[in-house]
Symmetry: C2
Amino acid sequence: MSDKEQVTAAILVIGDEILSGRTKDKNIGYIADYLIQIGIDLREVRIVPDVEQEIVDAVNALRRRYTYVFTTGGIGPTHDDITADSVAKAFGVGISEHPRAIELLLTRIRPEDLNEARRRMARIPHGAELVENRVSTAPGFMIENVVVMAGVPSIMQAMLDNVSARLKTGVKMLMETVEADSVPEGAYAADLGKIAEKYPDASIGSYPSFSTGKFRNQIVVRSKNSETLENALADVRAMVDRLTAERLQK
Amino acid sequence: MSDKEQVTAAILVIGDEILSGRTKDKNIGYIADYLIQIGIDLREVRIVPDVEQEIVDAVNALRRRYTYVFTTGGIGPTHDDITADSVAKAFGVGISEHPRAIELLLTRIRPEDLNEARRRMARIPHGAELVENRVSTAPGFMIENVVVMAGVPSIMQAMLDNVSARLKTGVKMLMETVEADSVPEGAYAADLGKIAEKYPDASIGSYPSFSTGKFRNQIVVRSKNSETLENALADVRAMVDRLTAERLQK
């Protein structure tokens, strides 16, 4: 293993609209894919409502536990957009209009249209750095290890691109999938468990899916060590081949 | 308001495959939609890895806080399926093979194929009731206020149908959407905030989305009181109409 440190993360989705089922979240999967590509381990996700104390508690629980916390949602101009104020409260810092954020808003909004509600989008907790985006111009921000982003997917994605160069990254997780459709999960479970025990620095998962009345199994091997990955993969493939041959002989 | 009590819930998704981005969760949105239909308020969601202590801690935090907790994932036959044992540990109870669960497995699996790994799927914490499903026959279970379900969506859905008759339900949340594309969010934010203040027993949200270079806004009014819903909706519609007319005159 490399001596690069392990970099971990949590996602905090802020939004009544996700909890009510009205909006189907598209950000968790996108951020998960993004983080694994840059060597950051996503360890936990929480979805909380637009309630200040819930946001404060979740931000404080997660920021102490993981290298980074990525929040999505609640940074627009309306009364239900309370993320920036809640994050300031979580850190115990003040919040006020950030001159550069106003400047960014004015690239899209005429000065006479920059009303009080829109100015809310420029309220940034003290000590935070802006996370800009070209899609909406209204910025997110990063305060210590917490990155605050929009909920609209295209804007969130632009913010993630903007902030990623500022993040420290760890050893990238390597991942390979073995198709195991020819053997039922219950028939390979014991042998797979032994392989998993043999490689403590790999994570081996078995994932069934079900459609048109038939199960499909995939075995996924993950490791940060390429040698471990190759050895564990070879064992898994040999196991699937052996069990497949045994079943054909029955 | 009715004097029926408020019934709340959390979802706990258990699965490395979601955190690694490999599998995109399809259960949260489905359960959210389902619960709102039967008058249960979804208040929080957590996604945790296949790590016993993480599952135990999350189950214990959530079951004390909400009327119900719905877990998905980790109840198959492989070594990474540790949900049943973790839930037993969270409740401090034993776990062993449940005769009815074995019976259910035998409706699909021949007795000579019921190996140790498959028998794991019949291990049920003491004091739990089974939650059956016709798709895979391997049951989930309900222990006190925690409902443990499969991660495969079609199986999870069958389990949710099976368990729903056993759940107490509250007053159903009513929800209506007003399209507000003709006015930007920043132009109606102040007025909408005043309407939200006027109706404390309604929850009013403004949800922008962005595609093909254009924002689209929807204002959602939610309340359990039908009169409040109608009055708040009328105010929102009048506001959108007034601001639209003002913009046309400019």
